[in-house]
Symmetry: C2
Subunit: 227 residues, 2 copies
């Protein structure tokens, strides 16, 4: 398990130039995305279709049990085309969770948009907004399941969260060790998500959201602003 989330950074950007003959399912080294574009030749919706199938497959089976072949089958295309668009299984996963994670990726703006005295509460409300949403919750649960059971999936999630959430929120803070502070705040919210949505322990699972926010917001506020 290596901390190379950064390697996925441009895995989905168009125009990457990598070896188009490399179709290994799960290469140990990090490749840089899909081969040169030929998207038009395949039809404009193919990439989206594969991505939707990948998202469903990973959500239902978890990282370990999902294969590029299975994703191709679910999308009605050859596995080679999945490799063509996304690269390795790891890279398909990165693209799929980026899609699933999309609702969470506006958090930095939500947290930054307002006075400093309300930053803790805004972060808490944002997180619960995403988790309480019946559309985004299953995708988040699926991501957590894959990350907890598979080191590669954990590395991909780590990369995405670091790059798209933590660095950006940390950049808004005026405290020592801002990344550590953001992670303290994140850990409080992740722990509540575990108890409330994953393990479903009472009374947390059915506690009133306002009660949770009232208790948790001061904690986040302290982590994010106390010098």
């Amino acid at each position: 398990m290596t901390g190379s989330g950064r390697a996925h950074d441009s895995g989905r950007a168009s125009g990457d130039t990598t070896d188009p003959t490399d179709t290994t399912d799960s290469a140990p080294r990090r490749r840089r995305g899909r081969p040169a574009r030929t998207e038009a030749a395949e039809g404009p919706g193919t990439r989206e279709q594969i991505l939707a199938a990948a998202r469903t497959e990973f959500a239902e089976r978890g990282y370990d049990k999902t294969s590029v072949r299975g994703i191709g089958k679910a999308a009605g295309v050859d596995a080679a085309l999945v490799h063509h668009y996304f690269g390795t299984k790891e890279q398909v996963f990165a693209a799929a969770i980026e899609l699933s994670f999309a609702p969470a990726l506006t958090m930095p703006d939500a947290v930054a948009g307002g006075d400093e005295a309300g930053v803790g509460e805004r972060m808490a409300r944002f997180m619960f907004g995403v988790w309480e949403n019946p559309v985004s919750r299953p995708a988040l649960l699926a991501i957590m399941r894959s990350a907890v059971t598979n080191d590669t999936a954990a590395a991909v999630l780590r990369g995405l969260v670091e790059r798209r959430l933590l660095h950006r929120v940390a950049g808004e803070l005026h405290v020592p060790d801002p990344e550590f502070r953001v992670q303290l705040a994140a850990s409080q919210l992740i722990g509540i998500a575990m108890l409330r949505y994953v393990v479903k322990m009472e009374p947390m699972a059915s506690a009133d959201l306002e009660e949770i926010v009232a208790m948790v917001a001061p904690t986040l506020q302290r982590y994010l602003t106390q010098p």
Copy 2:
């Protein structure tokens, strides 16, 4: 996923009387433990041997992929003997995680033993003591993995944690909604465990423990003692 952790309460107590002919691997309803004792007839170490094998199998394969047959094989006994001692797969799992969880089960005493002003810090230090221990950490990781990926495993863990940790710690507190408060504190610690030990996100993964305790203890203190 039903909240019936309570059903496991006496699953391991000796002398339970249940139908000894029921050897289903994973019964949907909750049975109450193993049949009447005949332990002496099988040799005194057999039960412990099966339990150790179960613990290893669940830790290595996760709940889903572990079978009573496989546990029997690993212990060098017939699957029927596993059922005989423990009951269903769910009940073998309950016994195995109770064993893995043993180091954590003294938390209520550790938390209760001292002045109220130090309760948050004691809880934090206790949790890190268990997670930083190279003997107990793999077992805790295995429990988390099973609970996150399987609803039955989650229910078993929930029952154990509620009965052996939360109720007992809550009983020591002088705050409104003590169980909710304990879960708030637990959620903070669980979230840090997720970032530090499971997803291994930096800087949390290698942050100095004293720094984490210094930030987190006041949070726990507030949850556990503020009226």
